[in-house]
Symmetry: C2
Subunit: 117 residues, 2 copies
Amino acid sequence: MKVNLDEKLALFNAHWSPKLIAKLNDYEIKLVKIKGEFVWHTHEETDELFLVLEGNLTIQLRTGDITLGPREMYVVPRGVEHCPIAEGEVSAMLIEPTGVVNTGAAGGNLTAKTEQI
Amino acid sequence: MKVNLDEKLALFNAHWSPKLIAKLNDYEIKLVKIKGEFVWHTHEETDELFLVLEGNLTIQLRTGDITLGPREMYVVPRGVEHCPIAEGEVSAMLIEPTGVVNTGAAGGNLTAKTEQI
Protein backbone atom coordinates (compact mmCIF):
# COMPACT_ATOMS: atom_id res chain seq x y z
CA MET A 1 0.00 0.00 0.00
CA LYS A 2 1.31 3.44 -0.79
CA VAL A 3 2.08 5.95 1.96
CA ASN A 4 1.07 9.60 1.66
CA LEU A 5 3.37 11.64 3.89
CA ASP A 6 0.88 14.46 4.45
CA GLU A 7 -1.91 12.09 5.43
CA LYS A 8 0.43 10.46 7.93
CA LEU A 9 1.62 13.82 9.31
CA ALA A 10 -2.00 14.78 9.96
CA LEU A 11 -2.38 11.81 12.31
CA PHE A 12 -0.22 13.06 15.17
CA ASN A 13 0.94 16.20 16.91
CA ALA A 14 3.38 15.09 19.60
CA HIS A 15 6.93 16.36 19.30
CA TRP A 16 10.00 14.11 19.50
CA SER A 17 7.95 10.94 19.11
CA PRO A 18 8.84 9.19 15.81
CA LYS A 19 6.06 7.30 14.05
CA LEU A 20 6.75 4.29 11.87
CA ILE A 21 5.25 4.61 8.37
CA ALA A 22 7.07 1.89 6.41
CA LYS A 23 9.74 -0.76 6.61
CA LEU A 24 12.53 -1.32 4.11
CA ASN A 25 14.21 -4.64 4.86
CA ASP A 26 15.48 -4.15 8.43
CA TYR A 27 15.25 -0.38 8.28
CA GLU A 28 12.43 1.84 9.51
CA ILE A 29 11.02 4.88 7.72
CA LYS A 30 9.64 7.24 10.35
CA LEU A 31 8.03 10.66 10.54
CA VAL A 32 8.72 12.98 13.43
CA LYS A 33 7.55 16.43 14.50
CA ILE A 34 10.14 18.53 16.24
CA LYS A 35 10.02 21.75 18.21
CA GLY A 36 12.49 23.08 20.74
CA GLU A 37 15.73 21.38 21.69
CA PHE A 38 16.28 17.63 22.01
CA VAL A 39 19.04 16.03 24.06
CA TRP A 40 22.65 15.55 23.00
CA HIS A 41 23.09 11.90 22.11
CA THR A 42 24.99 9.44 19.95
CA HIS A 43 24.05 6.32 18.01
CA GLU A 44 27.19 4.23 18.26
CA GLU A 45 25.99 1.52 15.87
CA THR A 46 24.41 3.38 12.99
CA ASP A 47 24.15 6.42 10.75
CA GLU A 48 20.85 8.33 10.95
CA LEU A 49 19.16 10.13 8.05
CA PHE A 50 17.12 13.31 8.53
CA LEU A 51 15.06 14.62 5.58
CA VAL A 52 13.15 17.81 6.36
CA LEU A 53 9.62 18.05 4.97
CA GLU A 54 8.43 21.29 6.63
CA GLY A 55 10.16 23.98 8.65
CA ASN A 56 13.80 24.59 9.48
CA LEU A 57 15.80 22.14 11.54
CA THR A 58 19.22 22.67 13.01
CA ILE A 59 21.27 19.61 13.84
CA GLN A 60 23.82 20.74 16.37
CA LEU A 61 27.13 18.89 16.17
CA ARG A 62 30.18 19.43 18.36
CA THR A 63 31.95 20.62 15.21
CA GLY A 64 29.25 23.10 14.11
CA ASP A 65 25.61 23.30 13.13
CA ILE A 66 23.85 21.89 10.07
CA THR A 67 20.65 23.76 9.20
CA LEU A 68 18.13 22.05 6.94
CA GLY A 69 15.07 23.45 5.20
CA PRO A 70 12.41 21.53 3.28
CA ARG A 71 13.82 19.01 0.79
CA GLU A 72 17.19 19.07 2.48
CA MET A 73 18.74 16.06 4.18
CA TYR A 74 21.71 15.13 6.31
CA VAL A 75 23.11 11.81 7.42
CA VAL A 76 24.53 11.95 10.95
CA PRO A 77 27.43 9.48 10.88
CA ARG A 78 27.47 6.73 13.46
CA GLY A 79 29.21 7.72 16.65
CA VAL A 80 28.79 11.46 16.10
CA GLU A 81 27.16 13.28 18.98
CA HIS A 82 24.27 15.46 17.85
CA CYS A 83 21.33 17.45 19.17
CA PRO A 84 18.43 18.58 16.95
CA ILE A 85 16.86 21.97 17.69
CA ALA A 86 14.09 23.93 15.99
CA GLU A 87 12.59 27.31 16.85
CA GLY A 88 9.38 26.64 14.90
CA GLU A 89 7.75 23.27 14.28
CA VAL A 90 9.51 20.92 11.90
CA SER A 91 8.24 17.80 10.16
CA ALA A 92 10.94 15.39 9.10
CA MET A 93 11.52 11.88 7.84
CA LEU A 94 13.98 9.71 9.74
CA ILE A 95 15.55 6.55 8.36
CA GLU A 96 17.61 4.16 10.45
CA PRO A 97 17.75 0.47 11.31
CA THR A 98 14.88 -1.08 13.23
CA GLY A 99 15.22 -0.75 16.97
CA VAL A 100 17.29 2.43 17.19
CA VAL A 101 16.30 4.43 20.29
CA ASN A 102 15.70 8.12 19.61
CA THR A 103 17.87 9.28 22.50
CA GLY A 104 20.67 6.83 21.73
CA ALA A 105 22.74 6.07 24.81
CA ALA A 106 21.70 9.30 26.54
CA GLY A 107 18.26 8.10 27.65
CA GLY A 108 16.09 10.47 29.68
CA ASN A 109 12.48 11.55 29.54
CA LEU A 110 12.46 12.27 25.80
CA THR A 111 13.06 8.57 25.07
CA ALA A 112 10.07 7.44 22.99
CA LYS A 113 8.80 4.11 21.80
CA THR A 114 8.21 4.08 18.05
CA GLU A 115 4.52 3.61 17.24
CA GLN A 116 3.26 2.59 13.82
CA ILE A 117 0.70 4.85 12.18
CA MET B 1 27.52 18.08 4.43
CA LYS B 2 23.83 18.60 3.89
CA VAL B 3 22.17 17.58 0.63
CA ASN B 4 19.64 19.82 -1.10
CA LEU B 5 17.43 17.64 -3.28
CA ASP B 6 16.56 20.37 -5.74
CA GLU B 7 20.19 21.37 -6.24
CA LYS B 8 21.02 17.73 -6.95
CA LEU B 9 18.06 17.30 -9.33
CA ALA B 10 19.32 20.29 -11.32
CA LEU B 11 22.58 18.46 -12.04
CA PHE B 12 21.25 15.81 -14.42
CA ASN B 13 18.59 15.16 -17.01
CA ALA B 14 18.99 11.54 -18.07
CA HIS B 15 16.06 9.24 -17.42
CA TRP B 16 16.39 5.87 -15.68
CA SER B 17 19.91 6.60 -14.44
CA PRO B 18 19.94 6.78 -10.63
CA LYS B 19 22.41 9.20 -9.05
CA LEU B 20 23.90 8.59 -5.62
CA ILE B 21 23.44 11.54 -3.26
CA ALA B 22 24.15 10.02 0.16
CA LYS B 23 25.01 6.82 1.97
CA LEU B 24 23.34 5.52 5.09
CA ASN B 25 25.40 2.64 6.48
CA ASP B 26 25.34 0.11 3.61
CA TYR B 27 22.34 1.72 1.93
CA GLU B 28 22.33 4.21 -0.92
CA ILE B 29 20.08 7.26 -1.21
CA LYS B 30 19.61 7.99 -4.91
CA LEU B 31 17.70 10.41 -7.11
CA VAL B 32 16.26 9.32 -10.42
CA LYS B 33 14.36 10.99 -13.24
CA ILE B 34 11.81 8.82 -14.96
CA LYS B 35 9.80 9.13 -18.15
CA GLY B 36 8.15 6.42 -20.20
CA GLU B 37 8.15 2.74 -19.31
CA PHE B 38 11.02 0.84 -17.69
CA VAL B 39 11.48 -2.93 -17.89
CA TRP B 40 9.72 -5.56 -15.77
CA HIS B 41 12.23 -6.78 -13.21
CA THR B 42 12.65 -8.18 -9.73
CA HIS B 43 15.12 -7.62 -6.90
CA GLU B 44 15.30 -11.02 -5.25
CA GLU B 45 17.44 -9.88 -2.34
CA THR B 46 15.93 -6.60 -1.22
CA ASP B 47 12.98 -4.29 -0.81
CA GLU B 48 13.16 -1.03 -2.79
CA LEU B 49 11.75 2.33 -1.67
CA PHE B 50 10.33 4.89 -4.12
CA LEU B 51 9.51 8.39 -2.82
CA VAL B 52 8.10 10.70 -5.48
CA LEU B 53 9.32 14.31 -5.41
CA GLU B 54 7.76 15.62 -8.64
CA GLY B 55 5.24 14.24 -11.10
CA ASN B 56 3.14 11.10 -11.07
CA LEU B 57 4.68 7.66 -11.11
CA THR B 58 2.90 4.38 -11.64
CA ILE B 59 4.58 1.26 -10.34
CA GLN B 60 3.06 -1.59 -12.28
CA LEU B 61 2.82 -4.84 -10.32
CA ARG B 62 1.43 -8.15 -11.57
CA THR B 63 -1.32 -7.70 -8.97
CA GLY B 64 -2.26 -4.13 -9.97
CA ASP B 65 -0.84 -0.64 -10.25
CA ILE B 66 0.35 1.71 -7.51
CA THR B 67 0.23 5.37 -8.54
CA LEU B 68 2.26 7.87 -6.55
CA GLY B 69 2.20 11.67 -6.59
CA PRO B 70 4.58 14.04 -4.83
CA ARG B 71 5.23 13.16 -1.17
CA GLU B 72 3.92 9.65 -1.68
CA MET B 73 6.06 6.56 -1.28
CA TYR B 74 5.89 2.83 -1.80
CA VAL B 75 8.18 0.00 -0.81
CA VAL B 76 8.33 -2.74 -3.45
CA PRO B 77 8.83 -5.93 -1.44
CA ARG B 78 11.76 -8.15 -2.30
CA GLY B 79 10.97 -10.71 -4.96
CA VAL B 80 7.99 -8.77 -6.34
CA GLU B 81 8.14 -8.14 -10.08
CA HIS B 82 7.54 -4.49 -10.94
CA CYS B 83 7.79 -2.02 -13.81
CA PRO B 84 7.73 1.76 -13.28
CA ILE B 85 5.99 3.89 -15.89
CA ALA B 86 5.33 7.62 -16.16
CA GLU B 87 3.60 9.63 -18.87
CA GLY B 88 5.23 12.91 -17.81
CA GLU B 89 8.63 13.34 -16.18
CA VAL B 90 8.97 12.18 -12.59
CA SER B 91 11.68 12.93 -10.05
CA ALA B 92 11.96 10.38 -7.27
CA MET B 93 14.17 9.27 -4.43
CA LEU B 94 15.21 5.61 -4.34
CA ILE B 95 16.59 3.87 -1.27
CA GLU B 96 18.06 0.38 -1.35
CA PRO B 97 21.23 -1.43 -0.33
CA THR B 98 24.51 -0.54 -2.01
CA GLY B 99 25.11 -2.46 -5.21
CA VAL B 100 21.52 -3.11 -6.29
CA VAL B 101 21.26 -3.02 -10.08
CA ASN B 102 18.39 -0.92 -11.41
CA THR B 103 17.13 -3.62 -13.75
CA GLY B 104 17.48 -6.41 -11.20
CA ALA B 105 17.90 -9.79 -12.86
CA ALA B 106 16.28 -8.62 -16.10
CA GLY B 107 19.32 -6.73 -17.43
CA GLY B 108 19.06 -5.10 -20.84
CA ASN B 109 20.02 -1.72 -22.24
CA LEU B 110 18.40 0.27 -19.44
CA THR B 111 20.87 -1.16 -16.93
CA ALA B 112 22.73 1.84 -15.49
CA LYS B 113 25.78 2.24 -13.31
CA THR B 114 25.04 4.46 -10.31
CA GLU B 115 27.08 7.66 -10.46
CA GLN B 116 27.62 9.92 -7.46
CA ILE B 117 26.63 13.57 -7.82
